[in-house]
């Protein structure tokens, strides 16, 4: 912590990764809900030629210039994916794969062209491939903050519209909302979020920053606003955690560390989130199964007693075992029921319902039939 406050570079990097985590977390929420998770992957790969071309055209390595180039290329790639899926029978996934690889290939061509450029200033462009968090400077962070701030403000401004668009585009249409423009707008915001992170996390891993925080957040809540907030916080935490971890351990690259943190969040959320968590669901199911099993033993005892005049008529265990062949289970259930005071054991080892047990059985039978 002390190091964080004193070390200038570390502070810059951590701030940058936190901002990128928060912005991609927020926009990722919508991408994941709209089944555009892999669009992020395509956009980030497709940004590469944009970065190269922006450098060739301007000769500048200022992050704003490169980000604009990356954004335009990413946006163009999205438009082509739409054009392909709308114009032919080619499916969305194929269009994504095609555009992603072709744009990336074009990016490689541009980068190799730049390498032969007489300008020695090109070094560092390939850091976009895997990201170079350590190269973040204050100017970069300011650019990221402004772009991210604008994107988040736009998200907030059109919150209602985007919400309708994400969950029920047809309904949005019936409200006479400009669905097409909203779609383009939201996708543009996603492109902005991706572009902000490219320099830090790199082309390949940026898609994880879009998907992971949102997927983790999804497990904890069914409310869009809460999900977006949780996703932003998760993203920011991953960013900070990744940056801190990678400085405290040598040879630990920042981008991949952030991604591994984010994956960790997803795994924890999938396992432990209160309602959707796999662990809780297992526990709930086990409890329910046990409940059902002991209910069925109780009802069987009731059925057997019904053949006599007395509903609390005792029966020996073998009679019950005809219905419940697993001796251990049967015995456990009888003990449980006994503990609840619903059955009792007579001296001769026979089991009978108590008056309480009879009442519960009546209620159960009514519930099940009703």
């Amino acid at each position: 912590m002390e190091q964080l406050l004193n070390d200038y570079t570390l502070r810059t990097v951590t701030l940058g990764t936190a901002i990128l985590g928060a912005v991609s977390g927020a926009l990722g929420t919508f991408a994941v809900l709209r089944r555009q998770s892999l669009l992020g992957d395509a956009v980030s790969h497709a940004a590469l030629p944009g970065i190269g071309l922006a450098f060739i055209l301007t000769g500048s390595k200022a992050s704003l210039v490169l980000m604009v180039g990356a954004g335009l290329a990413g946006w163009f790639a999205t438009a082509i994916v739409l054009l392909i899926t709308a114009g032919t029978r080619v499916k969305y996934d194929s269009a994504l794969g095609l555009v992603l690889s072709v744009f990336f290939g074009a990016g490689l061509v541009v980068l190799t062209y730049i390498q032969r450029y007489p300008n020695a200033n090109q070094a560092g462009l390939d850091s976009f491939l895997f990201g170079q968090a350590a190269s973040l400077i204050v100017a970069d962070v300011i650019t990221m903050t402004i772009l991210g701030g604008v994107a988040l403000a736009a998200l907030l401004l059109f919150w209602k519209e985007f919400k309708v668009l994400a969950f029920d585009p047809e309904f949005a249409h019936s409200l006479v909302l400009p669905v097409r423009w909203l779609d383009i707008g939201l996708t543009t915001l996603l492109v902005v979020a991706i572009v902000i992170g490219l320099q830090t996390v790199g082309v390949v891993l940026m898609s994880a920053m879009i998907i992971a925080p949102a997927t983790a957040a999804r497990q904890w809540t069914d409310h869009l606003g809460v999900m977006t907030l949780v996703s932003m916080v998760t993203g920011a935490l991953c960013g900070v955690g990744g940056a801190l971890l990678s400085t405290s351990i040598s040879n630990l690259p920042t981008g991949p560390t952030i991604v591994v943190c984010a994956t960790g969040f997803v795994v924890i959320s999938m396992l432990f989130a209160p309602l959707r968590g796999i662990i809780w669901q297992r526990i709930r199911r086990t409890v329910q199964n046990r409940e059902l099993r002991s209910e069925s033993v109780l009802l069987d005892l009731f059925e057997l007693a019904r053949t006599h005049d007395d509903l609390t008529y005792p029966h020996m265990e073998p009679a019950l075992r005809v219905i419940h062949p697993q001796r251990g289970t049967l015995y456990r259930q009888l003990r449980r029921l006994q503990g609840k005071g619903l059955v009792q054991m007579h001296q001769n080892g026979a089991w009978a319902l108590t008056p309480d047990g009879v009442r519960v059985c009546d209620q159960l039978r009514k519930d099940r039939i009703g």
Binding site: T88, L129, S207, V260
Partner: protein, 370 residues
């Protein structure tokens, strides 16, 4: 052309063919993005394989990579089955975290070896001829040629052997399962082949070109044929031509070979996207235009049929009346009439329009069918 160049092209065409074969299935099964996922996720497998053997050219590396590829498939399937994360998000999460783990492993433990993340992602075809297979003192040609050749032959053998089962599993998974052909096993076998091909190819062409060659040629072939067998053949042919064309363009521009090949894959698609006989944009435009005129002609003959031999015929069946009645522009009305005349559906007598027998027939048919 030197042997050197010949060998590069030979390897490239073999890679293209080996990728296009299983790629066809990916595209048809809407799993194109799995190629992206697998080709990235093999990285940690290769790294672990390297740690175990200490040798970068050991066949164990291929096994490790293929295992990591299969692990991706299994994990994606497993996450999807929990019903907590959608498939696209699951794909994005799994491959990016595996890739991140690979990058971290390399950065921390394998800094000083040739296994470099750039090489995995980008490949370097130009170096392929330097890595030669030497057996009993004899130079048998580049090693990559044999690795890729093996992968290609395995793919081809698998497809030939299980052609009809694969076809069935691809187009009607439910029927395939009903008939007892185990689509699940076929699926994993196919994914295993894809992983293996991706691993064998990554060293030579890089993972992105693997995606381009697995998705691009089959998507292009999908535009020009409706037959499964032809689609496979066309994809292989398209992939091979793209790689040779890409090589020579890279030669001309002195740029990345893999990048140029990916771009050529994109160019192929763009061309077919425009001019494909049925699926192409041009063909669709022509079809729509034709339909527009044919529809107008039908409307015209129906109109004429309704009014011919009635008292209003003189007023209704006139050229100049069409603008009012059909709300057609004068030029459009003229176009419709001249097309109808040339197709022998009506005759013009001055301004008066007179149906021919064919015209009446067409009108009656149109009325019945609408």
């Amino acid at each position: 052309m030197s042997t050197f160049q010949l060998e590069i092209q030979l390897v490239a065409t073999v890679v293209a063919a080996a990728c296009a074969l299983p790629g066809t299935f990916l595209v048809l099964r809407r799993m194109a993005m799995m190629s992206d996922a697998i080709s990235h996720a093999i990285l940690p497998g290769i790294v672990v394989g390297f740690f175990l053997t200490g040798n970068l050219s050991s066949p164990l590396l291929i096994l490790g990579g293929a295992a990591a590829g299969l692990l991706t498939v299994v994990l994606v399937e497993w996450i999807r089955k929990t019903n907590r994360v959608r498939e696209d998000a699951a794909i994005g999460l799994v491959f990016s975290s595996l890739f991140a783990v690979g990058v971290i492993l390399i950065a921390r433990f394998a800094r000083d070896i040739h296994l470099d993340t750039d090489a995995v992602l980008l490949g370097e075809l130009a170096f392929v001829p330097f890595d030669r297979l030497i057996l009993a003192g004899r130079d048998l040609g580049p090693q990559a040629l044999y690795a890729m050749g093996m992968a290609g032959i395995l793919c081809l053998g698998f497809i030939l052997l299980f052609y009809k089962e694969l076809k069935l599993a691809t187009f009607d998974r439910a029927l395939c399962a009903t008939l007892g052909f185990l689509p699940g096993i076929l699926h994993y076998a196919l994914m295993g082949l894809i992983s293996m091909t991706a691993v064998a190819a990554f060293d030579a062409v890089g993972s992105i070109l693997v995606v381009a060659l697995m998705v691009g040629p089959p998507v292009s072939a999908y535009l020009i044929t409706n037959r499964f067998g032809y689609m496979i053949l066309y994809s292989v042919a398209l992939g091979m031509t793209a790689s040779i064309a890409g090589y020579w363009i890279a030669h001309l521009l002195d740029a990345s070979i893999a990048g140029c090949m990916a771009v050529m894959v994109g160019v192929q698609f763009a061309v077919l996207f425009c001019i494909a006989p049925e699926q192409g944009v041009l063909a669709a435009w022509k079809r729509r235009r034709h339909q527009k005129w044919q529809f107008a002609i039908k409307m015209l003959v129906i109109h004429l049929l309704q009014h011919e031999a009635t008292p209003e015929a003189d007023r209704e069946c006139r050229m100049d009346h069409l603008q009012d009645h059909m709300a057609w522009e004068a030029a459009f009305a003229e176009g419709v009439v001249s097309r109808a005349v040339s197709q022998n559906f009506l005759n013009t007598v001055g301004e008066y329009l007179e149906l021919t027998t064919e015209g009446r027939e067409l009108a009656r048919e149109a009325i019945i069918h609408t």
